[in-house]
Amino acid sequence: MNLPPEIILEAVLNGLLTGAVYGLVALGLTLVYGVLHIINFAHGALLTAAMYAAYVARTAFGVDPYVAALPLAGLFFGIGYLVQRLVIGPASRGKDENILLVTLGLSIVIENLMLAMFRSDTRSIDVPYAMDVVEFGPALLSWPRLVGFAATIAVGVALYVLMTFSATGKAIRAVAKERTGAALVGIDVAHIYAVTFGIGTACLAIAAALLLPSFYVSPRVGNAFVLVAFTIVVLGGMGSFIGAAVGGIIIGITEALGGLILGEQLGQIGISLIFILILLLKPTGLFGSRA
Amino acid sequence: MLEVRALSKAFGGLKAVDQASLDVRQGEIVGLIGPNGAGKTTLFAAIAGFHKPDAGSVRFEGKDITGLPPHRICGAGMVRTFQITQPFAKITVRENIMVGAYFRTPDRALAMREAEAVAEMVGMGGQLDQMGADLTVAARKRLELARALATGPRLLLLDEVMAGLNPTEIVEIVGVIRSIRDAGVTILLIEHVMQAVTSLAERLYVLNQGRMIAEGTPASIAEDPQVIEAYLGHGAAKVLRA
């Protein structure tokens, strides 16, 4: 295919930026897996809900998504905490098959509530900077994506600091490594589980706010992202932060290049195919340890 | 009947089984004993196809079965039970045993009769309608035994079938195992309960830290200094003799 290098570069760079936000979505998922050892099928629906929340913040209250990001993160931390503490935890009683179905049930409930409230039309917000671009050499980078990239890095750093230096972070790591031992030293495991889930959901909320300027919202939008998120998590390795970051970037670039070469529609197939191949060939992913 | 030669299996850097060899002749009851962590279950797993041996060979009735998958080994006539019982929880005892019986026949009525006969033999005749999940430890052990028996094996590998049983239950199950042998099934068993093993087994193998350190009749094993040291620690043999 004869594409001028500037176009390719632009695609790659934009892919990288988008990939970072995908990575943020994946981060929540991989965190929850790494600590609770559950694959959260409700992740996509929660993202949808967060995007709608950001949408409402903008359309009903005039709050810019970038400004709404932090308050939304707080709100969704609370939602995530309650969901894990009151629904997922008690309903699944720790069994793997149960968790699968409970999170699926949750995703059905959330998605259809969104559908009932907002109907199936796609919506988008109008912000003055949505179409802004920044010049980067020969490439034109989308401003919202640049902001997204920067914000993701900030969140990544913040999480790293939290996990390494704070008491909560240490408790989380303890529970992730050795649940019974952690309980024995007095850590409230149910609480930590809920906190972790809350953090994962908060990451989703921030990602939602970052994605809103560039993407349509619809009740199904979460679904599309969730497959991407799962691919990233599996590619990067379940439970690995670095994996989520690297995976996100690889997927972002793959999507951009795929779209460029195969067209918008068919380009999406690259992600699903990568997903299938990783699961078949190396389910632990690039950086993961558990199979 | 069973010839295991120089079998080795390592996990990561740790050699769980190191060049172990053993023989089981038809009609015998042979015991495999050794301190905790000696590698007995790993050896069983390697023989029965649940792990692929890194080295060595397993021959059963003259055929090389090294590394074959478990269901093929079952086909050859050898079946194992599990140390931690694995009942099929949501179905009845009868249905549990039938899964084993179905190995020999596709016919439901036949499998059911077979299952009921095996249950009688093992002493579970009255529990056929109980759910797998509802059984006591002793009953689960019998179920493991019954299920494996129902496949019609010529060699039965029993992994700590007496663990968790009280003395009465042990006596009962020793009787059951004897009658299984008398019915024509050869038995190789891993056991910790010394009394039971020494009264049941005609020959013993002793495994310590992956290596086979002794072989012989229960009486000769009890005198073997290496065995005493394996269980009681270095220098114990000398101390005991003094």
Partner: protein
């Protein structure tokens, strides 16, 4: 004759007689109940009996729908002949997905994920490939004569759906009485123990998914013949996967009547919410709300009623 047999016979008679007296609107609903029950049963076989939870079963449905439609529209095949061809394709796809996934040792959540991915791949392909007319979808020319597998009177599709449902019930019933079914249950309960007892776990899993794929594909063809239109999101969209799983789980996974009971429950909830919405104008969107109820039911059932609604009918508890 025991209680169950009598109930079944009565049920069958009622089902046969029902459309003769009922208005078309209700006949259509009845048809949907049996059709969804049939699809659910195809999921039940692999997901309920064998315990292999798939989130992408729609891949078989869509394969069936597109196979028979393409054969009909593009190659002029008679739909009755295209139907078994669709089932064959469904079986092949089932075999393929099972072979790849189980060869790689995928279980539980990973298996669920990969089935989701396969369905998505098929959807994207259907959207992009010329012989499926891409996103435009495919229209079957309306010519309601029985030879075309199209009928003027909804009663015929009702009876076909009923027949499919009955066949699927018989298949499930057989699974509770034969070796194959017993082995599937053993695999579900404990794969290692099953292996130790001589069961070729891989082969049986592939077998069951092949069967499930064929059944589900048959449903796809039926659907295409009813609505005379399919497109990638209808044929491969995640909704159908969820529906199949839901009716089975709610009704009782691994039971004979689970999918049927679940289907009846779903339809009832649907109609009730529709009725409520017609009285309370604020609740405009019916469909999503009934699914909300269903999702909640799923969570509750997983938490409290592992045997689904069927568990309410059993006299003796089937689990500890």
């Amino acid at each position: 004759m025991n209680r169950t047999t009598v109930l079944c016979a009565l049920g069958l008679v009622a089902a046969v007689v029902f459309p003769l007296a009922a208005p078309n609107y209700l006949v259509n609903i009845g048809m949907l109940v049996f059709f969804v029950a049939f699809l659910g049963q195809s999921w039940n076989i692999s997901g309920g009996f064998a315990g292999q939870t798939s989130f992408g079963h729609v891949v078989f449905f869509g394969t069936g729908a597109y196979t028979s439609t393409i054969l009909q529209v593009t190659w002029g095949w008679n739909p009755w002949v295209a139907w078994p061809a669709a089932m064959l394709m469904g079986a092949i796809v089932g075999w393929g997905i099972a072979f790849l996934s189980f060869r790689a040792g995928l279980r539980g959540s990973y298996f669920a994920l990969i089935t989701l991915a396969f369905a998505e791949v098929f959807r994207i392909l259907a959207n992009s490939v010329p012989f499926t007319r891409g996103g435009l979808g495919m229209l079957i020319k309306s010519d309601p004569r029985p030879i075309n597998f199209q009928f003027k009177d909804p009663i015929w599709l009702y009876y076909i759906a009923l027949a499919l449902c009955v066949v699927s019930l018989v298949v499930a019933w057989q699974l509770t009485r034969n070796r194959f079914g017993a082995r599937l249950v053993a695999i579900r309960e404990n794969e290692d123990a099953a292996r130790a007892l001589g069961i070729d776990v891989f082969a049986e899993k592939v077998r069951v998914l092949t069967l499930s794929g064929a059944m589900c594909a048959a449903g796809g063809t039926f659907y295409a013949q009813k609505y005379l239109y399919i497109d990638p999101s209808i044929a491969f969209g995640v909704d159908k996967s969820v529906e199949m799983l839901l009716v089975t789980m709610v009704g009782g996974a691994g039971t004979i009547f689970g999918p049927l009971i679940g289907s009846i429950a779903l339809t009832t909830i649907n109609e009730v919410t529709r009725g409520v919405a017609s009285v309370v104008p604020a609740l405009k969107n019916v469909q999503p709300l009934s699914l909300v109820v269903y999702g909640v039911m799923l969570v509750l059932i997983v938490a409290r009623l592992p045997d689904g609604l069927t568990g309410l009918f059993r006299r003796k508890p089937r689990h500890a």
